[in-house]
Each structure stands twice: as C-alpha cells, then as structure tokens.
C-alpha cells in the first residue's frame, strides 16, 4: 500500500534525501545525500527504518505538510517549534499521525537543515540507486507546493523504540575536526598557522554544493592537475578564498585541497549559518611513500 503526503507549502528549498549515491563518482555523478547525516540517521533510527530510508530535508524555512494516511514521523535537525494541527509536538520523538493531520513549523531558531522522517521512508523514484534529489539526475530537484509524496505504508505497529527520545540536538561546536589535505604540506608555516589559528566566519554563499568562508588566506601555490575531491574537502582558490565542499559537490577539482573535514565535522558545518564562526582543529593521519 502506498501512503501519501501533500506538500501544502514547500518552504525555501526542500528536497528528498537519503544516504546518497555510492559507486557513480567515477562517472562524475555527485554523492549527494543528507547534508547533516547525523540528524538524518536519528530520524530513521527512531522510526526503526532502514538507515537509507529517504527523508524530507528542508533548508532554513520549513514546509507545511498534510498527511493523507495514518503513519508515524520523526523530526530532527535544525531547531524549530513544530505543530501538529496547531498542537506543539516534540522533535526527536516518534509522533503518531492520523489521516489529514497538518504539520506546521514556526521559524527556525538554530541550524539550517531539518529532517522529516516517515515510517518506511519516502518512495520517490530511485535514480542510480538513490532517491536524493539532484538537478540533471532526478527529474525533480526541489519540492514544489502541491507535490504529493509517496511512502510505503506498513501494518506493523509500534517498534520497540517508540517512546525513546533523544535530547541532544545538533552539535553547535565551533571547533571542527580536520585532517591535512593532500596539498596541506605545500603551504608555508605561516599559511598553516593562519589556517589553524584563525576563527573563520561562514559567508553568505552557502548551498548543498559548498560553503564559502569569509576572509582570505594568502595563496601562492602553483596550479595543480585536476584531481578527485570529496564532501568535506577544503579548497583554496587562486584568490585565497576557502571553500568547504559539501554533499552535492563535483567529484574532481583543480584547486589545492588543503584540509579534509572529518565525517562528523561535515555534519557540524552543514548546520552553521551565515556569520557563524568555526575553527579548524588538526588531527593527524599517516601518510607514507
């Protein structure tokens, strides 16, 4: 049986996301997937879903949804007041939905990306093994008003986790754990120390592809051959701007890769807003010839 959710208002930029595409990067296909994987995983685990079940991801401004069938949902990610038929409901807790319930939110207080997980996950089309929206891959790249989203209905009742709630919202730490990028050692001692001792400010250029930081790092590195990059790679552009690549980034790039964010710090920086601050804390890996 297919259940349906109607998008009454789409919000600022709302998409469907799962864990993303794995195995297609060599064809130039971006990974995509939830910007804040941790919040996304919480939504699915509280619902007892498969860990790759697709959720709604909203950005800054949450959507208004109407559920056309009975189901269960969990809200995670960016901090917001949520109301089911005008009654306030908790985030990080399984909520039982009855037919025609309307979910609304007030403005988002903290963070950027919020998740609406649904029992069994949304079932928009799988393209290259993922339901994550991406322009030129999926036919739909953002949800619009009046879109009807399908999900797989189930008859099974409450999972054992039904009353567990998670008090921790996303981590608002300023310190981001990073590793040396492949070109880090080409930087001078002064450049390295500036990079690791400066409190960087998030600029207004933020999207699913990349987060640009304010301020410049003096750059005298020579150009390099186009090479693979990943979400979390920090690139240094010729003008000295630092760009943190995010989930929808290209698979290759030609700018020096000076740092790599840890899996956790990618989730943390995803929830940072314009003017928020961050600082890079270096951890070491091995490297040998």
């Amino acid at each position: 049986m297919i259940g349906k959710v109607k998008i009454l208002k789409a919000g600022f930029f709302t998409t469907i996301q799962d864990e993303g595409r794995f195995g297609f990067s060599k064809y130039g296909v971006p990974r995509s997937g939830a910007m804040d994987k941790l919040s996304f995983e919480f939504a699915n685990s509280l619902l007892g879903n498969d860990k790759n079940a697709a959720c709604i991801e909203w950005t800054f401004q949450p959507p208004v949804l109407q559920f056309l069938e009975h189901t269960e949902i969990v809200l995670t990610g960016a901090e917001v007041d949520a109301f089911l038929n005008d009654v306030k409901i908790d985030m990080y807790k399984k909520i039982t939905i009855t037919k025609n319930d309307i979910l609304k939110f007030s403005f988002c207080r903290k963070g950027v990306y919020g998740y609406v997980g649904i029992k069994n996950g949304f079932t928009t089309p799988l393209v290259l093994k993922s339901r994550s929206f991406y322009k030129s891959i999926t036919s739909c790249f953002r949800l619009e008003n009046k879109t009807i989203l399908p999900y797989q209905k189930s008859d099974t009742q409450d999972s054992p986790l039904s009353n567990v709630s998670v008090p921790v919202l996303f981590d608002n730490t300023k310190e981001l754990e990073v590793y040396k990028g492949p070109e880090f050692d080409l930087l001078s001692k002064e450049q390295q120390s500036f990079l690791l001792n400066t409190s960087f400010v998030i600029s207004n250029t933020i999207n699913r592809m990349a987060i640009q930081l304010e301020g410049k790092l003096y750059n005298d590195l020579l150009s390099m051959l186009t090479s693979p990059v990943l979400p979390g790679t920090v690139q240094l552009t010729p003008s000295g701007t630092l760009i943190v690549l995010m989930r929808d980034c290209q698979t290759t790039g030609g700018y020096p890769r000076i740092l790599q964010l840890s899996e956790m710090s990618i989730n943390q920086i995803a929830q940072k807003r314009m003017k928020d601050k961050c600082r890079f804390k270096l951890r070491n890996y091995f490297s040998f010839v």
Partner: protein
C-alpha cells in the same frame, strides 16, 4: 613500467594514491590497470574508485580501521600487476555540427584565434583524443590532445546556461557538456547525442582510456540523429583499434 606511488589517508573512509604530477598516457594506463585490479579485488558494494590525471581516490563505505594494513594490501596488489603488452582501445566517432547557428561562440572563436571556421573544424576533428577521466558534471569527459592552435582562455564571465550537447573549448581542454549547466568554455559545435541518461541501464557508454574523434556533420544530419537519438533509435558503437 612501474611508478613510485604515494599513499595517503584522505579521510576516515578514503585513501589517495598519487603518481608523478604529469598528464601522460603511460601514467593513465598504469593507473587504470591498477584501478581495475582494486575494483575486482574488493567488492564493488564497499568501495568506489575516483580517478584524476595522476591519482586514484579509493572510497570505502566504512571507516578504515587499519590504514597501514590496507596500504600493504594495496601495494601487494600493485606489485603483482602486470600490464598487458597488447592493448585494445575503443574508438568512439562522435558526430558534431560546427554551425555558427547552433554554436553560439564559433564565429567569435574563429575571429579571436584568426582562424577560418573551416580551419577550426579541421584542427578540432583531426586528433584522436584520449579520455583521461570523468568529472565536473555527470558524464563530462576530460579529453587530452587538443591542438595548441585552438587553446583559448575561458570566458571572463561564464554563461549561465550552456546547453546539453555543446562542444566547447576552455584553456587547453575541449569537451562536451553532457547536461545543461552554467559554463565558461567557448561553444564551437553541437553534438546531437545524449551522453548521459541516468534512467537508462547503460547510462554512460564511455570509459577512461577510450579514444574519441569528432566527425563534422551537416545541420540536416544533426537534426536527423537528434530525432533518432531522442527515440533511442541511434546507438553509438565503438570501433576496436
């Protein structure tokens, strides 16, 4: 030939292997052969390998617990690699319509380079280009071998929309836009084929190491192939060389 390779951990789940920083076909074939053996050694569900001109990035779905052991495993794999002497290449002949009506920058390009349009076509269709890797956009081919007489720096201000199928030149590179996207390269031709069909079983036909040659076609042939290609009546087949 075997190279001195550098191994480094790139992230909790990725290892980078680097060759000397040159654009070179010997490096390419060594790298592609290593890539194949890595892909067949591990299960494709747990790794994916991205390549660049001189590097491979191996991504694992899990955290690499023992980096040192994993690298030793990889090194053993590399040292047992014997590159076959005889290599068969696949040649793809790709139709391109070099018409100033279809290709918005062709006239300007020929003027800026002081080359006639015919000369531009001649120089662009003469080489056999090597596919080094894919990146930038889904299905975008990084091709080596553009004639230096056709090199031209990218536009200062990128165009907001470069149409799917545009054949373009940027700096010392040439390529085909597989999907419509913003772009800063000069469009000198249009290809009527769909290169990237995310919903098709064989969503892309090219592999790194393949050879590409552009074949100039008239506008009526362009239109004909385009309508056939839309109905999936036209299938590009490689020539084995």
């Amino acid at each position: 030939m075997s190279y001195e390779l550098k191994y480094r951990q790139y992230s909790e789940r990725a290892i980078l292997i680097e060759w000397p920083p040159v654009i070179d076909e010997n490096v390419l074939h060594d790298l592609l052969f290593y890539k194949k053996s890595i892909e067949s050694f591990y299960n494709k569900l747990i790794i994916e390998v991205i390549s660049g001109y001189n590097s491979l990035l191996i991504n694992y779905v899990f955290t690499i617990e023992k980096f040192y052991d994993t690298v030793l495993e990889l090194k053993t794999l590399y040292s047992s690699n014997v590159l076959p002497e005889e290599r068969k290449n696949r040649l793809w002949e790709i139709p391109v319509c070099y018409s100033p009506i279809l290709a918005s920058d062709l006239k300007m390009f020929s003027k800026t380079k002081s080359l006639s349009i015919d000369k531009v076509i001649e120089l662009h269709t003469a080489p056999r280009y090597t596919i080094f890797f894919m990146g930038f956009l889904p299905g975008f081919l990084y091709l080596g071998g553009l004639d230096s007489r056709l090199h031209l720096p990218r536009k200062n201000t990128p165009s907001l929309e470069v149409k799917k199928g545009s054949v373009a030149i940027g700096g010392n590179q040439t390529g085909i836009y597989p999907v419509t996207s913003p772009g800063g390269w000069h469009i000198i031709g249009m290809c009527p084929l769909d290169f990237f069909n995310p919903n098709a079983k064989e969503f892309i036909v090219f592999e790194p190491g393949d050879i590409v040659q552009f074949i100039a076609i008239e506008e009526f042939i362009y239109n004909d192939i385009r309508s056939k290609s839309k109905k999936a009546d036209f299938k590009l087949k490689p020539i084995i060389i």
